[in-house]
């Protein structure tokens, strides 16, 4: 694609700007900021990836993955700011997700140990894990706030924090995983996934593209389950003090 063609795609930015202005949605500023940020971020990533692929050093791959984990953590932790130590809990979860998924992919030689495979796949899995963490924390804090009486009841009867919060924890884990599972049910019928579409547009064999997409969606199931369960079980003890009293959640 030429830069001229790419420039023409800005029509897709103009349309929402015009509509926002017409219907007084007040989204013009956010749309412009989002557009500028995506251009800068993606171009920067493009050049960085070019460099990393050329050098092919494992240190740069590691640094790229670390950068992704830091960015994902900074974004996800906002939803759990009332939970003590949430930043490290998210970091630990994302690192474990990366170790488990890449451990299987690289350990069984499913994908080659090169930056071209490790970095994009890590990006998709860490990104999904971040979204799952946000969905989980959002739902978990809402569940606790709306069921505080029930949690207090179980504690008052001599229950442990784990018993007191079990229902809210399970509800939040299930709720955060539903989008991943539901989107996989209709994959290929309603939408062609981004990575597969990209490969096909890039001239790859559709069957080859499907195989890689299947690899990703199977790995996403693991990241979804691991992320929600790990964040959940790491987070809930921080909601209680040493006297097993429920702390206030922001």
């Amino acid at each position: 694609m030429t830069y001229t063609s790419l420039s023409l795609t800005l029509i897709f930015v103009l349309i929402p700007l015009v509509l926002s202005k017409t219907f007084k949605l007040g989204l013009e500023k956010d749309t412009i900021i989002a557009t500028i940020r995506s251009i800068i971020q993606l171009l920067a990533v493009g050049y960085i990836l070019n460099f990393v692929f050329d050098v092919g050093s494992i240190i740069y791959i590691f640094l790229m993955v670390a950068l992704m984990i830091v960015a994902a953590t900074l974004n996800a932790r906002k939803k759990g700011k009332g939970i003590k130590g949430i930043t490290w809990k998210i970091v630990f979860t994302l690192v474990m997700v990366e170790i488990v998924t890449q451990g299987v992919l690289l350990g069984f030689n499913i994908v080659p140990t090169t930056a071209q495979y490790i970095i994009p796949i890590s990006g998709m899995l860490i990104g999904n894990s971040m979204v799952l963490s946000i969905l989980f924390l959002n739902r978990f804090t809402a569940e606790i706030t709306s069921h505080e009486n029930e949690i207090e009841l179980i504690l008052s009867l001599g229950g442990t924090p784990k018993q007191a919060i079990h229902r809210q924890l399970i509800n939040a884990i299930k709720a955060s995983m539903i989008p991943t599972i539901e989107s996989q049910k209709t994959i290929g019928l309603v939408q062609l996934p981004g990575m597969m579409s990209g490969q096909i547009i890039g001239g790859a064999d559709p069957i080859q593209a499907v195989q890689f997409q299947l690899l990703i969606i199977f790995a996403l199931l693991t990241t979804a389950t691991l992320s929600s369960i790990m964040i959940g079980f790491l987070s809930y003890p921080a909601l209680f003090n040493e006297r097993l009293q429920l702390l206030e959640v922001e």
Partner: protein
């Protein structure tokens, strides 16, 4: 309170505040063992906060609480909460049936409640066996309170904290619950601490009374103090309630 009775719970200069707002202000006093003490006072006096502290759901920001002459912090929280049971004002229920709720205290300990025992607890609070498998979201406010009381009894606590447990009940049900609590106190020597807005109830079933206002313990003594309070604020409060 000057009493010859051994205290079940003793508070020594207990204060509690949330974000610099004082809820309880340096409260000192005892709840005698094996007696019924009623807590009366206007809304916002800190009565519920006080009960929650005795059950360990809250901790004082200052001061000391002794349960059976032992500092509250020396108890394992789960052990303390079985020893000092509480029936919460909102009568919260877990999702499920009346039986699920009655069995909850034992389920939490990995034990089971027999259907026969569950029915007996229901009968004790004035509900018949037909309620056992009813969903809790189908219960009226009064029925929820009764299930909540029955559930609190299952841990067989030696100290029972009751937070306005009869506020949603009709007159007959109130009398039944009062009789049940009095019998628990008489026959099993259970110490009762009961928050009530019903001064008549405080007079008729309580041995002792605490009058609380604005986070302070204003007057304590035998329940008859409600007939002739020495403190003018208490007199004014009682007059207001009776008006």
């Amino acid at each position: 309170m000057t009493t010859i009775y051994e205290p079940a719970i003793h508070l020594q200069q207990v204060s509690f505040s949330v974000k610099d707002k004082a809820i309880l202000k340096s409260i000192t006093g005892s709840f005698p063992k094996g007696k019924i003490t009623t807590l009366v006072g206007p809304s916002g006096a800190g009565k519920t906060t006080l009960l929650k502290m005795c059950n360990g759901l809250l901790s004082p920001t200052d001061g000391l609480i002794l349960i059976d002459n032992q500092t509250i912090t020396t108890y394992e929280p789960t052990t303390l909460r079985k020893h000092v049971g509480i029936a919460l004002q909102a009568a919260p229920m877990i999702a499920g049936t009346v039986f699920d709720n009655l069995a909850l205290p034992l389920t939490l300990q990995g034990k089971k409640l027999t259907q026969q025992d569950a029915i007996q607890y229901l009968l004790d609070v004035g509900l018949d066996a037909s309620f056992l498998h009813r969903a809790t979201n189908e219960l009226s406010g009064g029925q929820r309170q009764k299930v909540s009381i029955a559930r609190t009894l299952i841990n067989q606590s030696s100290i029972l904290l009751l937070d306005e447990i009869t506020s949603a009940l009709d007159r007959q049900s109130v009398q039944d619950i009062e009789a049940l609590i009095v019998s628990l106190n008489k026959n099993y020597n259970v110490t009762i601490i009961w928050i009530t807005h019903n001064l008549q109830q405080a007079l008729s079933i309580g041995h002792y009374t605490w009058v609380m206002m604005d986070g302070e313990l204003i007057e304590t003594g035998e329940s008859s103090l409600l007939k002739a309070p020495t403190n003018p604020r208490v007199a004014e409060f009682i007059q207001g309630v009776n008006a």
